[in-house]
Amino acid sequence: MAYSDKVRGIYEAQLQGIRDAGIFKQERYIHSPQAADIEVEFPAGAALKKVINMCANNYLGLSSHPDVVRAAHEGLDARGYGMSSVRFICGTQDIHRELERRLTEFLGTEDTLLFPSCMDANAGVFEAILTKDDVMISDRLVHASLVDGIRLCSAMHDTFKHSDMAHLENKLQLHADKRFKVVITDGVFSMDGDAAKLDECVALCEKYDAMLLVDDSHASGFIGKTGRGTHERCGVMGKIDVITTTFGKALGGASGGCVSGRKELVEMCRQKARPYLFSNTIAPVVVAGVLKVMEILSASTERRDKLERNAAHWRKGLTEAGFVLKEGDTPIVPVMLFNAKLSQDFSKALYDEGVYAMGFFFPVVPQGQARIRTQLSAGHETHHLDKALDAFVKVGKKYDILGKSKQEIIEKFGM
């Protein structure tokens, strides 16, 4: 037997090490559709508990929207359940291409290619368009999926300090001899909730003849006046060479992602990107759902406007209560606790008070920057936010951190 007791023991010891370090991840079972109010079984076997969800990427509240669910049902009936194929063999239906057209129009790009996920889009795009003669220069806080895609590519890789444009400029000068230079950033950074300075990135890319790739997963559908994304917010629509994004967050929340941008780059992905070539097509039911999402978003900005109001209301309430927040104006509002154990205890206490919000700590965020990341949704009503705020204040008082500065919290709990 290859899987001997010795091998098993080694893995058991590794898992125990993860538990001992206090970073063992446990799933919480949700027994209801994704929404502001959910029913959760946690820990496993416990009675169901109704809680307010403050940690979903369901920014626009469309994950369980009746029109999206109905469209998915209709898609299921009209186009079937699965395609049993990758896209280029016999896995492309008319609705796949229709969704690519709708996304191209929405994002203001030249063409779009669907991927099974944005993780797959990011894993495939670099190797498809770059060679060892090129360089990728990424923000140091980009999402893990971009890091993985960069690792899979033979081009040289360098980094610049988070949102530091002077440092980026140094790097563009340092790598001036490379055939192609690609600057890589998130549109909105998932852990801090701050937005990239895309207008400045575009200006530098134009000055130094570099391309710009933006992962807009935490922005597509709601950032910018009409929700097109970070490029709309920064006034650089049509100037981003590659946008990758997901349908797994604001755009219905099911699954799938895309590469959208210059038509030659998109075509290179269609020809060469391995997650596109060797992974199944997106299920028709999901495509039908996302098409309905695009229709809803193109008809009205009502949902992103409500989300913006919710985020401002939430941020104001937490600030007035005396919490330390990360600066920003997106629906990602990190409540800073700095200490890893405090972030876990705080999350548990919130759950007891009926609020579901996760604590994050190293290595997901830098050492000493543990936090509760809260995320707003257009599905939240004022009563949800008021109740959640009451719970935060109650738990904040319990740990005596309200009105305390970063230094005071660190002195009390350590880093």
Binding site: H157, T159, L174
Partner: protein, 82 residues
Amino acid sequence: MDDLKDIVLKYVTEEYLEADSDPITFETPLISGGIVDSFSMVSLKRFLENKYNIQIPDDRATPEAFDSVNRIAVLVREFVKA
């Protein structure tokens, strides 16, 4: 070349350390100490090559050879002499 180590120390400090980080010395482990990740070694290598007009072959630009300012200085001096 006397100031080579100071130049490297200054570059590493400005390039990789945050404003509130503890200062480093010529002996501080850079790669094994988690200050410089393997991705970011690229810019250090390119900086040295441009600054001293040398070419460091990839098989010599190892994490071990880049693990402290002192070791980097030894490596750079070897190629400058050559």
